[in-house]
Amino acid sequence: MMIKNALLFVLGMLFTNLLLAQISITGKVTSADDGSNIPYANIQVKGDKTKGTVADAEGKFTLEKISSTAILTISYIGYSSKEVPVRNQSVINVVLEKDILNLDEVMVVAYGTARKSTFTGSASTVNADAIKDIPSTSFENALAGNVPGLQLSRGSGQVGSSVSIRIRGTGSMNASNEPLYVIDGVPVVSGDVSQLSNVTSNALSSLNPNDIQSITVLKDAAASALYGSRAANGVVVITTKMGRRGKTNITLRNDLGFTPDFAYHHNEKASPEQQRELRYETYYNGQINSGKTDAEARAYTENLLNLNLPVDPRGIFDWEDAIFRTGVYRNHDLSFSGGDEKSTYFSSVSYSKEDGMVRANGLDRLSGRLNMTNKLNNWLSLGTNVSFSSVKKKGYNDTNNNGDNYLQMQRNLVFGDWFPTKQDGSPVTTRFLSYGFNVLYYDQLRDMTSVHNKLTLNETITIDIARGLSFKSIFAYTESRIDDYSWRSAEHYGGTSKNGTVDQYNTTRLSLVSSNTLNYNQSFNNVHNLRLLAGFEAEKTRNDFTWAGGSDLPSGMKTVSAAGKKDAGASYTGSNLLSYFTFGEYNYDNRYYVSGSLRRDGSSRLGANSRWGNFGSVAASWRLKEEAFLRDVDWLSNLRLKFSYGINGTLPSSFYGHMPLYNYGSNYNEKPGGFVSTVADPDLSWETSYTYNVGMEAGFINNRLYVGVEYYNRDSRNLLQNVPISTVTGFSNILTNIGVMNNQGIEIELKGEIIRKNNFTWTLGANASTLNSKITKLYEGMDIIWYDPTGGDNQAKFIYREGESPKSFWGKEWAGVDPENGKAMWYTNNTTATPYKKWNDRDVTTSYSAASDIITGVADPKLFGGINSNLAWKGFNLDLHFIYSLGGDIYNSMGRYMNDDGYFSWRTLGKDALDRWQKPGDVAQNPKRIYDEGFENHTSRWLYRNDFLRLKSITFGYNLPKELISRASLSNVRVYFAGLNIFTVGSQKIVDPEVNSYGTTFFQLPLGKTYSFGLEIGL
């Protein structure tokens, strides 16, 4: 009885508003631009989710039983939303202004949505418009330069290779630095999914960019802390398209693109004549150096060149032309969307094909999606998102190797004097003198593909329990099957010793996520606005691996079943996460906002001692413009300050890092063998990051100019470090939480409508981010030397040192070439080496090993960002998107191969090798070429300042006039031209400035320059 009374009392309180006077309203929503009707705009009674409606196709709406003092919120995508007090009026016509700068859009954030203009955390959004026209199967291209503080990099220019994203710097040495990706409320796998070594397959390639409605990047702790243990590197929240009430839209898109060339310089090869000249000099100098006379040296060298670079009657072979082709991109996309009062749907099917510039590289994607919502009654709604995709990537190993790497082959391993076929037309099958294999012959004898099939099913149930109180449950099932396949025939050099090999790897990743939240959303007296959320989430992932390998293949056969010898393996790994969380936000009169969140996560990746971690955040913002003292300042249309502080975590990458492991598989005598493989810290724990963020936003002249400034400071603590230990123990390191890093930076965003006249608008935006990353603590203060993990062979060398950037290049400082004798010189940077001479008033040595290592540069830029310009005139639009970067360094590991000073006998050289010392007095970049000398690595000789500006994407489109197309009963026809990486200027003209996240490049394929044409038809 007591309980019932109490319940009635509470319910009574909730329904108090019902007692006020109620009226009915009709009205119409129109656009301020041209007075046209806005169909299907949303009309909502503020503070009461249950009261609201959607305008009809003519923009008309009716609302019944509305409180006479209510406030209506009218919103429509692409327009600034507007609040209109009812004040007893029965007819309310609303004029909405276009929100060209997207300052007031609703964005999807952690477990809900938020209005950009009032959000207390730090987040940036990228909308479908910025994504859809880019001629690439990878939507990530749209993020570069569009999100302040976000750095995007790609390890290889091969299509379909995985992408790396850093949000606000590097926060970990050992665990992941990649953000968490959340698609439609469900965390998903990102990164490389392939089991093939040296060929990556991007998990996110499975997402059709045209299905994306918006991407929100959550950057500070307030925005991301609700994702707790996985949010320290930021969160990328992707929302797919939903249908909208109204008539069915059918959209058909077709794109055709071409990638004829690389985007920029990339260690171009010198001409065949120049190769001969350089080669001659190398051997001649070598002979003279070993005491031969001029005549002897000439005779020797001429003889040598005649033998090894014989004149072929067929002339010179164009390897570049034979190895590279024009890449082709095709995309066909069909989507339907629509809905009625009860349900909406969006459905799409798409096929894309991207053929890389190297014929061994390509990607095929078939994908489909159905997103449905259904409101069953006034308290229960269901949502279903189903998607599938099949991505097939064909790739090759582009690390340093002399058989499979096409770029390396063309640039470094074949002379034009060498032909891929003998005079009789049969292929050359032996190694060339450079040790290179004839890639044009061997690539017919191998295959490497990775097929990623993915099925996702998300079920959402929303129950409105009482006014303002609802319960939402998402259940997501994702199954990914990755089939990797590698084949080498018995004729292939890699397969010959086993008479042909075939390997088939199957990975099944199963992920189950159950996310349950209770939401309470209510306004009191129109000034107290409260939102509360509490939830729990369980995530279970399991990866099953199977492998079947075969050798001794019958000729022409490529399957394991056909093999004479077979081998197999199977295993699984798993990782589970359990979380409880709560979030609250209160604002007073839309002026003062405070919010806070707490999350408790438990992970199977940690031992029982340290399994549970607590994370959380607090934030506040103040809309100064709403205050009396600013309300009448006309030129200022918005002013807001915000602050947040919070704690996030990162889990170890290793699933069982807290356990000392004893592994199997080290068999002997065909009997099982086991070995102690790791030593572990049982207290292994989360990495935790402590971030604060302060920001200011201002709008001027009716929000036609927007300025946003943010400063963040992130201390990443308890960083996992593979602490190197004495290998006498039998181990080389132990994983413990020890390091500390700090990242701080300022992000400035400017947006403005420069021109807005009748049919012409021009908006311009620019953002700039600074980044200052520093390691503040390492195990016992000891430096850690580490090597670039990409590209093979430990090319670039780095150091982790307290007080320095985590991306510090470590090596010998190049002093240049002595004009007197052409010797290479390094600054000694020590007092122990006997100086060779003074150079620029400093001691130099000609002995590489006598010089000491120093920090020679830092990969991260000091300032980076993007510039956007959008012009629209009548049906035309021209969008330009630039990215830029200043103050970083880039290490060209390929340099010492393309410019080896004489070390290699028969490798070809780059154009840069031409600038070499030949006679006393020459001021040259490169030393005298002498056979058998040179080839030093880890030196600033290959390090360049990497300032650049790149026209990352460009779209020029035209919407055919409505009058014209309506005759063909079409609703929209758009033709457009798009380009990717079209134009670049840089401080160095040697390698492509956009490389991997380590700021290095080796023999990986650089990015291409793509031009595409598209046609979009709406029915």
Binding site: L512, L661, P672, G674, V728, S905, Y931
Partner: protein, 513 residues
């Protein structure tokens, strides 16, 4: 009233819905939801609990010996390349830094010897310590004997590992009677953060001898293909005594093997064939290289020695040196020519490098019947070597036994039909020289030459200043002759170890500091 009932009904349905949804969500949360175990490993603390576990761990330890940086290739070709009888043909192909002695103090070149060998030590200590701690209980005397045998095999591997470390990193024992730094000795479970120091060469030898003498009585005397038996432990022990200059013990141990073990020397007729099959009559311990387990493929010793122009994958990295071939040419009918073949220099494109008919291809790793052929067992101990040990010790010990020495040597000299048997009355030095010469001829390519020259204070001479026939001399190379006074005659402790183990810095080998 009706309205109220309806409302009630609706609330019940709502509650029911809520409850079911929450229940589905919670169903994931079983007690062990966060307790996940790996599928291919177990907690190392529980690695050995019974006899089968001990055997599995022992297999794992043997497998460690077959790695590329140990007996899989680099422990074997180290002593041949540095020993002057094998030459490297070009730079940058494989292991040329060892041939050129470009190992430097601040580089980690070939630091993998250190880490790979200590990894093997960790594995055998895991076996020995668990057994000593009584983690394995046996119920029958037969099982107890088996367990003892497992432990003794582990002890022998531990001895081999320490002996190899001291050969690579410490000066030869006889240079200063083992007074200089050898290697850290590990016989216990080390704390992960331990910073072990080097012990003297003498102490390491003591430990090696202690392990082997403890192991031998526990080991089976039967032939055990691919595994260590008592004779293998004794063969190692006799070698250790010989390196140490403890000739009486070397003599006694080797003599015991010759007289009591089931192994018999290859006859001249079947010498050649012994390289095409596994487990020949004189093979005391042969590491099994199984294609699916430890075949090094293109990195194998087979590929290392194969001429480049033979098969498209082969490196053509090394050939027998001119010095060796000049010596061997004196014995044109020696059966051991069968394992030398025409190398690639017959059709060289580099002027000055063509030598038609050059027999530099060392063919001891051409295959022993498995497929692929690169999976060739590594013969660590052969009776022939034991004969050399016995003969050398017999000549060098006080109260020499020239009769037996000559007999043991002549048994092998039969492989050259032209060789007249030596007589015990021949001068000591002649006999000793012949032992050393016969060793070179017999054991080329098997990882002995360099150690054999250095341990007695001899001088290694190399073919040319550098690569065979190469036009110029690279910078930073070694002299043309090397002896135990050259600081680079041993490897430096790698920079990686020095960085994490500061106390060992003071113990760096002189010249590398």
């Amino acid at each position: 009233m009706n309205q109220q009932k309806k409302l009630k009904m609706k609330n019940i349905i709502k509650l029911f819905f809520l409850a079911s949804v929450v229940a589905v969500g919670l169903s994931a949360c079983k007690d062990d939801f966060l307790e996940l175990r790996p599928s291919t490993s177990r907690n190392a603390a529980e690695s050995i609990t019974n006899l089968a576990d001990a055997e599995t761990a022992l297999n794992g330890a043997y497998s460690r010996l077959t790695r590329l940086d140990y007996y899989g290739r680099r422990m074997v070709n180290y002593a041949d390349m540095k020993g002057g009888d094998v030459g490297v043909t070009s730079r940058g192909i494989a292991d040329d830094a060892m041939y050129l002695f470009t190992h430097e103090k601040d580089k980690d070149q070939y630091g993998a010897y250190w880490t790979t060998i200590y990894d093997a030590v960790l594995q055998v200590n895991n076996i020995i310590i668990n057994i000593e701690e009584g983690k394995v209980t046996t119920t029958s005397p037969a099982d107890a004997a088996k367990l003892d045998d497992f432990k003794a095999q582990a002890l022998t591997i531990r001895a081999l590992a320490h002996f190899d470390l001291v050969r690579l990193y410490g000066y030869p024992y006889l240079k200063d009677n083992g007074a200089s730094w050898g290697a850290p000795i590990v016989t216990t479970r080390l704390n992960p953060l331990a910073k072990p120091k080097r012990e003297t060469v003498a102490k390491v030898y003591d430990q090696v001898i202690a392990d082997l003498t403890a192991a031998a009585p526990l080991l089976s005397t039967a032939k055990k293909n691919g595994m260590i038996n008592q004779w293998a432990a004794k063969a190692l022990l006799s070698r250790v005594y010989l390196y140490k200059g403890d000739y009486p013990n070397a003599y006694a141990t080797a003599k015991n093997i010759i007289e009591s073990s089931p192994y018999v020397l290859y006859t001249p007729a079947n010498w050649n064939g012994s390289w095409s099959s596994q487990f020949g009559s004189e093979s005391i311990f042969e590491l099994l290289i199984i294609p699916s387990e430890s075949d090094q493929g293109n990195a194998s010793l087979r590929s290392f020695y194969r001429p480049r122009n033979d098969v498209r994958t082969d490196l053509g990295a090394a050939t027998a040196s001119n010095i060796f071939l000049d010596m061997f040419n004196n014995y044109p009918n020696d059966v051991r020519w069968a394992r030398l073949g025409l190398d690639e220099f017959g059709n060289q494109k580099t002027p000055g490098r063509e030598i038609p008919g050059r027999m530099g291809w060392i063919k001891k790793y051409e295959g022993d019947g498995k497929s692929p052929a690169s999976a060739v067992n590594i013969k660590l101990f052969r009776l022939s070597e034991v004969h050399f040990i016995a003969a050398e010790a017999a000549m060098k010990m006080s109260g020499k036994d020239a009769v037996n020495a000559v007999k043991w040597l002549n048994d092998i000299r039969k492989r050259n039909p032209d060789a007249a048997p030596l007589a015990s009355s021949d001068a000591d030095q002649i006999i000793i020289d012949q032992i050393m010469l016969e060793r070179r001829k017999e054991l080329i390519g098997e990882g002995h030459t360099y150690f054999d020259i250095l341990r007695t204070g001899g001088t290694v001479t190399y073919d040319g200043p550098v690569f065979f026939g190469a036009p110029t001399i690279p910078s930073g190379g070694r002299p043309q002759t090397v002896n135990w006074d050259y600081f680079k005659c041993v490897l430096p402790i790698s920079i990686n170890e020095l960085n994490v183990n500061p106390e060992i810095k003071a113990q760096q080998n002189p010249g590398y500091e």
